[in-house]
């Protein structure tokens, strides 16, 4: 039985409809929800938590229908985007708050507090007020509070969005470790694609209020089922070329590209889009791969790899090359496309 199950849930807003949403989170799973801002990700968390009731469909928790459970009964913890720490309480009081609310015995409170502060490395700041803490410390206290009472599941709404890049990376590892050690069910919402992909066991990609694809990060990355998903997963984003499928089904003819040989079955004829990830465009010629000349526009040296922005005809193409590559602006570069990693979409945007 899954920990959280959402079946055909729909929520109507004046300008926007959320759903139907179908989603199932297993016990002990780290489930990520990714989507651009304002697409309903936070609303899904509220549906799970019980702050919102669905207009249609249902939310089931460990087999029990959420329509008959109010928020407190559902036994779900949440970490909010703005943390919502109690400003007049110390770190310690914040963390043990849920336990006190449930009238837990003193010994249990002490035990949980010890455990939580140990894992999150906050023992040395328990006596401080939130105002005296740094952003990262506040984050950990908020996590500690959500963690203190062993709840059925933890919901996190962009909990580390406001931190520095470096701190975010560190917190990611902490969160993952926390989750695994406790075998807790986590539902993690973020608009940062890299973050969600790095940290989740499975990911749901939300576009325009609907779930476009659910799968492991690997699945979603290497086989996006539609152009919209392919557009938002991957940094830098996938390159797209419009064109037609040859009638024979053996080639794709894209603008400015040579005929691209297609491996395996595909559409015969019709319009479509070819998607190629920046790392699947290689410098120089390579056996069995079609190659083309591009004109270098700019080069972004990122240390362990380099992003090259180049013109193919009128279009800008992004190429990810390993290591440090020095190129002159305006120079011509020959690149080849890895035929084994092409993504083809029909004119409706569906994967072929």
């Amino acid at each position: 039985m899954s920990a959280i199950e959402i079946t055909n849930a729909v929520k109507n807003y004046p300008e926007f409809t959320l759903g139907p949403i179908n989603m199932s989170v297993g016990q002990g799973e780290f489930f990520g929800i990714f989507g651009p801002p304002s697409t309903g990700k936070s609303s899904i968390l509220k549906l799970i938590l019980g702050l919102l009731q669905p207009d249609e469909g249902s939310v089931t928790l460990s087999g029990k229908d959420g329509a008959y459970m109010d928020v407190a009964e559902r036994d779900i913890s949440m970490v909010f985007q703005n943390l919502a720490l109690f400003p007049h309480m110390t770190g310690r009081e914040n963390i043990i708050f849920p336990l006190k609310e449930r009238n837990a015995p003193e010994s249990e409170i002490a035990e949980r507090l010890d455990f939580v502060s140990e894992v999150l490395h906050v023992s040395h700041i328990l006596h401080k007020n939130p105002a005296q803490m740094s952003g990262g410390e506040r984050q950990r206290i908020a996590l500690g509070r959500a963690f203190a009472a062993e709840s059925r599941a933890m919901l996190l709404d962009e909990p580390i969005a406001s931190l520095d890049a470096r701190l975010r990376e560190e917190m990611r590892v902490e969160l993952k470790r926390l989750q695994r050690e406790n075998n807790q069910t986590f539902v993690y919402v973020s608009h940062d694609e890299e973050e969600v992909m790095a940290i989740s066991d499975r990911v749901a990609v939300m576009i325009d209020g609907m779930i476009a694809q659910i799968g492991t990060p690997d699945e979603v990355y290497s086989t996006p089922n539609s152009r919209s998903v392919a557009e938002v997963i991957g940094s830098p984003p996938m390159n797209f070329f419009e064109g037609q499928f040859a009638d024979s089904g053996v080639h794709f003819n894209g603008s400015s590209l040579p005929p691209i040989p297609i491996v395996g079955e595909t559409l015969k004829g019709g319009d479509g889009t070819l998607g190629v990830r920046p790392e699947d465009i290689w410098l120089g010629e390579s056996d069995g791969n079609p190659s083309v000349d591009v004109k270098v526009s700019s080069v972004e040296p990122l240390g362990s790899y380099t992003i090259i922005n180049a013109f193919l005809g009128d279009q800008i193409v992004k190429i990810r090359a390993p290591g440090q590559v020095i190129l002159e602006e305006g120079s011509t570069l020959r690149v080849s496309l890895d035929v084994r990693n092409l993504h083809l979409f029909d004119d409706a945007g569906e994967r072929v």
């Binding site: 651009p36 801002p37 952003g135 520095d164 890049a165 470096r166 990376e169 990611r172 590892v173 993952k176 470790r177 695994r180 608009h191 940062d192 694609e193 890299e194 992909m197 790095a198 940290i199 990060p217 690997d218 990355y221 557009e231 938002v232 991957g234 940094s235 830098p236 984003p237 990830r277 790392e279 526009s297 700019s298 972004e300 040296p301 990122l302 240390g303 362990s304 992003i307 922005n309 800008i316 990810r320 440090q324």
Partner: protein, 367 residues
Amino acid sequence: MSSIQIQNVTKRFGDFTAVDEISIDIEEGEFVALLGPSGCGKTTTMNMIAGLEDVSEGVIKFDGQDLSHVRMQDRNIGFVFQNYAIFTHLSVYKNLSYGLEVKKVEKPEIERRVKAMADRMSISHRLHQPAASLSVNEMQKLAIGRSAIVEPRIFLLDEPLSNLDAGFRAYMRAELKVLQHEFGQTMIYVTHDQIEAMSLADKIAIIDQGKLMQYGAPLDIYNDPQNRFVANFVGSPRMNLVDGELREEQGALRLMLHGGAEIPLAGQVKADFTSDSKVHSGSFGIRPQDIYFGDKRADHDIKMLGKVEVLERVGPKRLAYLQVQETMFLAFDEQAQLNVGDDVPFYLPSEASMAFDLDSGRRLGGQ
């Protein structure tokens, strides 16, 4: 277009020293990033260049000319605020024309230039709409256009991409680069995101707690960090930096890590650590992409044994977190053959490793 000389500039707020004797030389037309964690003093430094703050000590010059008595209105600087500071009560057109209007430029000229800039920034279709109705992305373009239209000699940008969503940020990075080349201005860019700094800047000034840590071209800083802070801050994913005490036993030099493990030093990195006899605590640095698995490749490469704790997908790559007692090493799982829980041997190539003095943070050895 101006060159900028920042000479021993210090800024104090009461007892607190926000900026501590920073000196940077910026050439005409250069794109310089001020990079550092929140609160490091980078924004304060930029505010001083703009004239928003006074300098406590030291001097800032444009083209050799001392600015101490020049008001911010008269410095002819383009400034893009982090939250854009768009004139929300005016239309997009009026926002763009403001800088020209206050200079009493003629109406037809204003119209021509506003239209051209709106085209350039792809917001022509919004020209007569209230600026408050724009999306965040459009607002950012408007903020840039508004400053650029008066053709300032210097352009200052305060974390301009931090409010944008990830997809648009990648796009704007490329756009900014193109813009800077077109306008040819000297640009100074404040950010805490080292990816942005690396991809955009000609030179990066890394600042921590008010002090300048290193100033140079992105790849120079990446390949040759002068201190531990820089090595830790620049590079994605971050460099492995493990700290410990140096101990010599029977001719062999080991780094006893604080987490309990130890690294037997050899080759170039051993020479680096021994180059300064006063150093007792050190930091061992190795980039994730340099760690390898399988067979030993060079004599002096250091073998370690670790347990795979976490596997993360980062773009097209898989990142493995290897636990050695209490210490964690990051490495790339190129062949995708690791599983969580595996005990694997891995190698640290001594040529690619870096040595740092833990007390001062200074780089030992190096080119």
